[in-house]
Amino acid sequence: MSQTRKITYREALKEAIREALTENDKVFLMGEDVGRYGGAFAVSKGLLEEFSEERIMDVPLSESGFVGAGIGAAMAGLKPIVEVMTVNFGLLAMDQVVNNAATMLHMSGGQINVPVVIRMSCGIGKQLAAQHSHSWEPYYAHVPGLRVISIGTHEDARGVLQAALQSPDPVVIFEYTSMLNMEGELPEETIKVDIESAKIRREGTDISIITYGAAVNKCMEAAEELKVEGIEAEVLDLRVLRPLDEAAFLASVSRTHRALIVEDAWRSVSVSSEVSARITEKAFYELDVPVKRVCGAEVPIPYPLHLEDASVPQKKDIVEVVKKMIRP
């Protein structure tokens, strides 16, 4: 066993940004309050002092403007990391992402790459009510031309950015505010992750729990609880929401013959609906029970804690559904 260290999700993200800035002088971070404020969630705290105004750029509240500028800068030879403070403001720049970043390569017949990296924090769990608790990964995952990554583990918090910066195509990364303070173990040595494949976070034989983002952790906890009852659940972190690593989840389901998809986002027209459809299309004869989903309730997220908790999947919901699927 190699040496490990304890680190928070936030610190892992920061290390990744610091490493990128250090290794490549074409990389710069731009976003609202990333510099003097230290980042809305303190992810970039201290980096302005460590680097410079040139590398850590505070921008005005003009999402479309600075995301578009990030895209332009990427087209012109830089490697911008554009931080959209939260996904909730992301739609103000959605046009830039969908109509410019995602189309440029195709529209120009392969001439023009947009190697921009766009980071957004997202998710639910801080009683921030309807406009500040969004899980909009599915919107972005819908768009061909984008690579959409969801960071559900410390390993990915540390490793994804490096891989994303090496991609010649636009990458949208989702980070989860609810996980920022969470501590995890990381190996001492450098982490290499790819942004093309899903990853099995826990092996199991009885059921495949397919998930991503903040739900990964809930699924891992659920799997531990299920183990006590003699159920071995496999937890597959999709990680790449587009293009989906279909082979990974089809293979897992072909082993366990049961699939549960867990997602914080609203159920309808979501990542889970896509995964479910593909399992039915391509692994139908492997299924021993119908594919099930545990998803976000279809409601604007309410403010009170008990209602907020009820609107996204919790560990007990996952455990319950798995038990029903295995021992009806």
């Binding site: 013959h257 139908f284 004869y285 299924l287 021993d288 029970v289 029903k324 699927m325 009806p328």
Partner: protein, 407 residues
């Protein structure tokens, strides 16, 4: 309650016209009973029921043409709604309730999903369970599901496979069913011609055939038949065809890849059911099946031929006799052409053809002699097997025909 459906008797059957009900509401039915007569493209066919129980209601009137999969009658069965009835046998004594599992209809029946109009009556089984059941010839209707809402899941099917009893007893039951003479024979010559045309066109269109042939010295076989017939009454005499069928079936034991169907992939069949081409005097062919031909003696095969051929010619074959074959054998008998290269009957993957037995100059050990020779051919589906397999088969077939006493 189970539905009795218009069966699909082949890939080329789309519908059928009910000619006559053989059972009326209230009549008891046993698995294998003829319940109806149906006119198809292939002619008048007696349709069996696959349930034990009582006829509850007839849903289709004679003269009606309905698509494959349409519910034609309701059968009240012993173990219908609740799983407990099966154990207790509440309403009717189920005589051989555990005879179970072997599914004489084989995959054609299960494959065709019932129309969605009747979703409630469908056997609820997971896709995986269905797949395993099909591969192992397990009849899902005999299994009680332990899954969600009583759905049959993988474990249930696996349990059924473990508990499966010897399949031979089942085979006997279906063979000793009482015969019923149908009164009328539809003038179906034309539709038989059409059906043959359709199946053969499909075959030539979709199946890449390869052909191999081998001359086989029949002197030992014919001598054996002759000697054997000396001890037999006229009624019991053997024809070379019976020996050829046995020889083919036995050879398939060693080359199972040819005893198979191609449905997106090669599916090797456990039973060797040899379909034997019977030419009709009115034109067209019928291909009744001699089931488990490898397990039958030559005499038993001859008995089967004596039973099947006249019924085939009279078009009085049962549906299961028409759709259970796993390979086809076609033989010209004496006279006529020397070589016969057959067209595969889909979804099978091979057809064995025998030309007429003719006398030929034959060199053996440097000596020339006159021998009765038969030209055996194999038409194979190149998607399923290669010439190497076919070659092996013909070699083994020759060996078997040189040792008729072992057949």
């Amino acid at each position: 309650m189970k539905e009795f459906l218009m069966p699909s008797l082949g890939a080329d059957m789309e519908d059928g016209t009910l000619v006559e009900w053989r059972k009326k509401p209230g009549d008891p039915v046993t698995r294998g009973d003829i319940i109806a007569e149906v006119d198809t493209q292939k002619g008048l066919i007696e349709i069996e029921v696959f349930e034990d129980g009582y006829v509850d209601k007839l849903l289709v009137d004679p003269g009606e043409k309905v698509p494959v999969g349409t519910a034609m009658a309701l059968i009240r069965t012993g173990d219908s709604e609740t799983g407990q009835e099966k154990e207790q046998g509440l309403e009717f004594p189920v005589s051989e309730k555990e005879k179970v599992v072997l599914q004489p209809t084989e995959e054609h029946f299960d494959e065709k999903p019932l129309p969605q109009k009747f979703p409630g009556k469908r056997i609820k089984a997971s896709p995986l369970a269905r797949r395993i059941a099909e591969e192992n010839k397990i009849d899902l209707s005999k299994i009680t599901g332990t899954g969600e809402n009583g759905a049959i899941i993988k474990d249930d099917v696996n349990k059924a496979i473990e508990q499966r009893t010897a399949p031979e007893t089942e085979e006997k039951i279906s063979e000793t069913l009482p015969e019923k003479e149908p009164e009328k024979i539809a003038d179906s010559g034309k539709s038989i011609r059409m059906a043959v045309a359709a199946a053969m066109s499909k075959s030539n269109r979709e199946i890449p055939h390869y052909y191999l042939s081998k001359k086989i010295d029949m002197s030992k076989s014919l001598y054996w038949i002759k000697e054997s017939n000396k001890e037999r009454s006229v009624q019991e005499r053997l024809l070379p065809a019976a020996l050829l069928i046995k020889a083919v079936a036995k050879s398939l034991d060693e080359v199972p890849q040819l005893n198979a169907v191609w449905e997106n992939a090669l599916q090797i069949k456990n039973e060797i059911n040899v379909g034997f081409v019977v030419s009709l005097r009115s034109g067209g062919i019928m291909v009744p099946s001699i089931n488990n031909a490898d397990l039958k003696s030559v005499s038993q095969i001859m008995d089967s031929l004596n039973d099947l051929i006249p019924r085939a010619r009279a078009m009085k074959l049962r549906s299961s006799e028409l759709n259970s074959s796993t390979i086809t054998l076609t033989s010209l008998g004496e006279g006529g052409a020397d070589t016969l290269l057959g067209v595969i009957y889909p979804p099978q993957v091979a057809v064995i053809g025998f030309g007429g037995i003719i006398e030929e100059a034959w060199a053996e050990n440097g000596m020339l002699g006159i021998r009765p020779v038969i030209n055996a051919s194999l038409s194979g589906d190149h998607r399923a097997t290669d010439g190497l397999t076919g070659n092996r088969f013909l070699t083994i077939l020759n060996k078997n025909l040189q040792n008729p006493e072992d057949l």
